[in-house]
Amino acid sequence: MPVFEAFRLALQTIRAQKLKSGFSLLGVFIGVASLIAAWSIVNGVNRYMTEKFAQTLYGVNTFQLRRRPMFAANVPDSVWRAWRRRPRIKFSDAEAVTAALTMPVVTAWQSDDNGSVFYGGKEARDIQLVAASERYFEIKNLRIAMGRPFTAQENRSGTPVAVLGDGVAKRLFVDRTPLGRSVRIGGISYRVVGVVEKQGSVLGFPLDRFVVVPAFAPAQNLVNPPGVVDALLVKARSEVEMREAMEVAEGVMRSRRHLRPNQDNNFVLDTSEGVQRFWAGISRILVVVLPGVVIVSLVIGGIVIMNIMLMSVAERTREIGLRKSLGARRRDVLRQFLAESAAIATVGATFGIVAGIALTLLINAVSPLPASVSPASVVLGVVMGAGVGVIAGVYPASRAARLDPIAALRQE
């Protein structure tokens, strides 16, 4: 019997026994659906991380001189405590590094903390208060929607002006213009000179709840001790120039900190790779957990199919005897039942793929996770589904093939 004939027969049997086949393909269905959905989340977040998130938080070809990395996964307590003991980055450090960079770069200072912003009787709580120098907007790719950023002059003199994030502007001013009005931060009034374009959110975290004031403005004292910055941001024109700048910065910092050659850096030059490493750490956990879930449901699916196939062989003993008496060889019977279990599993996998894609779209629509279906997962789903079917079918099919036609025909 040709393989094609075996599959046609298998599909007929499945169609004739819809309920039973439905149950038997449930396991594979769930396995493949969860494979696709989970993979889509990892895949989507991965792409988001590399394409957007890292760029948003860091900017292209940008590094940050910091006391410790901005993002870190699985950091032991001892390392964390060591990081906290490190000296902080001083204004003088930032100035020295900036002065040493001979290649064309854009630099900015940045310090931040969470706090409240007031306007009239209203309070916007849990706002990221950023004290930064004027090129900060350029490095962070923050476009001004209304008004203007503050100037270098305003930055140096610490003029109390503020540029609001879209979320803060909406919260405090609703649809009136904030420009020219004064908000209060830490009891001091700041004149609003600009509002930044809406940034949306990353993984559910809103990116619009911030206020930027000049690095030398009084708010600096709210976020950091005097003379200390959280980060010096350096944006180069290219990756190569960024690496050069990082080497220069490292050299300057090591000599300022009097580090001997055998001593490790007590500062970091953080790039978007840092965020990606942080994400890789998380996704590695998913990559370990995910196959576990998928394998468990596929194994269960395989066992269910094997059981149903054994039942089916027992029920159809007479049919098998008849087919053998009509000239079916062992391999014909084997092929027939293998095709049947493979077909059940493949149908289950197909439904699973559809459900997985639907689930992905649903996750995209209702949750902040940027899920996106990976074509590889669809291929893997089909292959694994059919594979489970074949493996689960081997034992029942070989039992059917070995049946003695005389005994089988006599079966009631």
């Binding site: 019997m1 008496s325 000239g327």
Partner: protein, 245 residues
Amino acid sequence: MTAPALQAFRTGDTPLPDIVILAHKLTRAYDMGGEVVRALQGVSVQIKKNEYVAVMGPSGSGKSTLMNLIGCLDTPTSGEYWLNAQKVSDLDDDALARIRNKEIGFVFQTFNLLPRATALHNVELPLIYAGHGARARRAQAAHALERVGLADRMAHRPNELSGGQRQRVAIARALVNEPSILLADEPTGNLDSTTSGEIMQVFAALHGQGQTIVMVTHEHDIAAHAARVVTLRDGLIATDQRQAA
């Protein structure tokens, strides 16, 4: 009248060309949990082309065992079995399946039709295992159904057919590969006497067209349709008689 003595067959001989079935000292013993049951104890019989033979005997006489051996569903413990000048008593499983497919058309007491398949598809089954293409299969199966007078029932499923019609579908299935022998096991056992008569007419017509038929039955009036009756008792041939049809 006793069947005319054919040329004596000795081990090592080859049967004459017009002999379809040649059994030589066939024995078949079963091991039933330590106890050996000797179902056949040395059966020798020769059946010529276009003979119509009924095999009779009480239950336990070994007629089913002989039937299984003739139908190549089983192999003898000792002895030789030649089918159409081919020695099949020592073939392996796959070769036997091929012989069943090409040389033997089974008709069972309980019809053994696939319940979910149409009459046409049921008749097509042996052709699938013979490896024929779909178009050729359909044409041949349709032709076989016409031969048994069911040209207008091809698309019906077994549960839409009467008992007699079902058995005729089974006969069409048995004939579709143009086998050397039509092997019927109690073909009228599940049918009323009128329908049994119809089936016997079909058999007579096929015999008239040159078909070799071997039929196992325990009903004398059914056996009466055959030209030769072989009776088994205790695993041996008791009588072998020709009779006027």
